[in-house]
Symmetry: C2
Subunit: 361 residues, 2 copies
Amino acid sequence: MTARHESAGPTTLVLGAAELSLLLERVGRDRIMDLMIERLGARTREHDADTVAVRARDGFRYDKPDLGLVEWMPTHEAGGPVVVKMVGYHPTNPVQRALPSVIATSSMWDTETGHLVAIADATLLTALRTGAASGLATELMAIDGPVDVGLVGLGAQAVTQLHAITRVREIRSVVGLDADPDVAESFAGRVRFLGLDVEILPVESAATIASDVDVLCTCTSVDIGDGPVIGDVPTRPGLHVNAVGADFPGKVELPGGLVERALVVPDTVEQCLVEGECQQLERAAVGPELYEVAQQRDGTEAFRRRLTVFDSTGWAVEDDVALRLAIELARRHDVGIEIEIERLPADPYDPYGAASGTRRA
Amino acid sequence: MTARHESAGPTTLVLGAAELSLLLERVGRDRIMDLMIERLGARTREHDADTVAVRARDGFRYDKPDLGLVEWMPTHEAGGPVVVKMVGYHPTNPVQRALPSVIATSSMWDTETGHLVAIADATLLTALRTGAASGLATELMAIDGPVDVGLVGLGAQAVTQLHAITRVREIRSVVGLDADPDVAESFAGRVRFLGLDVEILPVESAATIASDVDVLCTCTSVDIGDGPVIGDVPTRPGLHVNAVGADFPGKVELPGGLVERALVVPDTVEQCLVEGECQQLERAAVGPELYEVAQQRDGTEAFRRRLTVFDSTGWAVEDDVALRLAIELARRHDVGIEIEIERLPADPYDPYGAASGTRRA
């Protein structure tokens, strides 16, 4: 699989569609998810907000030919590489172009030289890291024993949410629902690899689903102003909610009452106040960020007994962890394409001169 | 040269070191430079600041392991693609790592779908577009007749500066100087393809060089606070200066007196006020931007008679023009590597499922 060209210049590792499919096959889904949760756990425990620079998400939004945006999420850990995830979001893609609405790539630059080390698909990596973040949050804050799991929204995110939870907790039962009957029906097939029975509930059960589970994941594509997507009902002691769907000002999935009763743990508080469940709270009422929970000296037993909400809007550090892991696995399993993308002249003063590498087709 | 894999998913065009070398060979340096000047001219004449979004250059700067930065320059023309140039600047590269100090790539996203259309080396493209910008400025603002050309600083930029000028004016003579004797000595070899005699002047001639030429290019790597690099002397009527080297707060190449007497035309005024020769002027004293000169209804005869300075700090629109031209030429000459980078699942709700393309190695 690895194609190396004769070259004297530095090469860029490309991990495309085929390479990531091959990694899934060689490493296995469970092992990749375990590693993703483990690495994210290690990274949050070490996280120092003073040495990690994360730029606020920025991008171009437009409404022609259709509503869409291209945005970038750059991060840099002191002494480490720069990682930039580029995300395209075009909601008319599935219906009009048979493409997913979100298409993403992640790239890494070496801060010793400025060389582009790698570029990889981030569509799969984002699904994995979003699952792993909820897996980590569940590990830290859900009750210990076997858990009953609820899923509201059964699209792509629900697959990696449920997968991640199976890696950190024994599962007693799974219930789920989706407003789209086709999506609800296809879910069992998409998570068959987990070997679990999934009970599909009627969509009306959203009103009460929070009463009957220990871990709840909301991962809907609710429209602005249309939330919440579940009812505000009494919950079991220690319920943990992974709220994944809110990602835009005005979008929320959880009832205000539940959010106010809960300890709300954002992935990154500034962003969650703007586009997550934290929109429903005063800043002072927001709980610690996920990394601060991971760094609790006395463990997280106290969190497990409380009603907790992980407010997951997407953190650039998660993308950094995901890309580093993909590169590590690709190198270990000899997967990837190495291409000399940068044309570095052998004589740095002669831009037209021979490139430092002399590969020719 | 074109490697196409069997695939159902959209592919990304990769233009790396070998591909750009091949394009130089197949299209020819002169033709590429002519096209770059022509396209930049057309783009500036059409430019509408209201429909082109250019984000201020942003990036991560650091001093470990050495001083360096990785920065991004995104641009989007309404209805067109998003283009982002990523630039690494690591001044210790040449001495410590036998690499150029500037390494760059440019990428393009389709704003209909969010798909990554292309990624290309931008090290060569930046040298070409920086030359082409001075070529266009010279075409618009230098005297008409055969010109005497002066070059201060004979590094990589000087090669494409001189090349671009030969494409827009008949050359009577070329003089040049550089503080580094090795760089000065190697210059004739690097521009031999132009078939011109270049007279290398002693470095002391910097004091008076502005007196004896019609077109002057300053393209030094002067340090912060060490400018100006030339003397303030009486100049010929209609002298046009391309000032290319200033690119950081505190860096200037031209004497304040000359800048004050001249009509200073920035590539983009906000940036030039911070890091170009415009640092030496009040905002109200700055002339029109390059695109405004190109859009003069009555032609630019009046500009040709005046002392003019093109303050070139690098404009994201130039990078957009350069990348679009490279893609166009690559497609026409069947050069490039097509890779399915984005892993788009055939079922958008099944992230682990088969990718839409089924290529296997």
